[in-house]
Subunit: 152 residues, 2 copies
């Protein structure tokens, strides 16, 4: 399957929301509606306006969206003033799973972080996503940290 | 011990670096020098220029720095366009530990995230920091995720 990666456009939004919703954990907390829920449009605008956020889609040769992820570039003082790249909301369309797209997508994301000067790339994965965790470990990530969350 | 929390100023930078360095894990990767390593100054400027980053110090009644942390406010599409607050690089000065400062500092950080419209607050903690992890769990955080890191 031929694919490429590009910055998401507002016209991709409905496809991205469908990907976020088509997920065992995500399906209960996303709303796929026409027209698109205003909260997604507001969030897209905030991401798009922030030069340290990069929402990316993977597309097939017909420019159909088959994956998405968000990169956050975070400046920090720790580790002698190191920038961190953070990967969030990774989804691969069902029909594209097992094709190597996920590996290519994460490697592309890591290289994008490197090109932005990041010295570390980080992400969290729900502990119930055991396949995902193994996938990231194969790609050189180490599960060295607890990922702690508190809902407000 | 009376304390307050305020946005960090450039004149706090050496105290913050000392706090980052005075740590079992951090001591090997920070450089406390006079003058301050240029990389910290560059990182401070990047944090200060980014309205979605907030570097905060805890100070005593004489305005001496006794703690630090960084907040990142991250817009995202997941969870119906939810903003996340992320807490990073939390340090409490040795002389201030056990005083309740850490609890007050994290609660202040959580309320700051809430005031910015975040619906979730997240952080990662090295698995070897078992006391820290218990501390965050007592404050309502759940260690639901693996925190995966890859150095570049």
């Amino acid at each position: 399957m031929t694919h490429s990666f590009r910055k998401a456009r507002e016209t991709d939004l409905i496809d991205i929301i469908r990907l976020l919703a088509d997920d065992d954990i995500g399906q209960g907390r996303e709303f796929v509606t026409d027209p698109i829920d205003q909260r997604y449009q507001t969030a897209f605008a905030a991401i798009d306006a922030d030069e340290n956020q990069l929402l990316v889609v993977a597309v097939d040769q017909k420019d159909h969206v088959i994956g998405c992820l968000q990169l956050s570039f975070i400046p920090g003082l720790s580790r002698t003033g190191t920038w961190r790249g953070q990967i969030e909301s990774v989804r691969i369309a069902r029909e594209a799973r097992g094709s190597g797209l996920g590996t290519a997508f994460i490697e592309w994301a890591v290289e994008t972080c490197r090109a932005r000067g990041c010295k570390i790339v980080q992400l969290t994965s729900d502990k119930s996503r055991t396949d995902s965790i193994r996938f990231y470990e194969k790609l050189g990530f180490t599960a060295s940290h607890e990922g702690l969350k508190r809902s407000l």
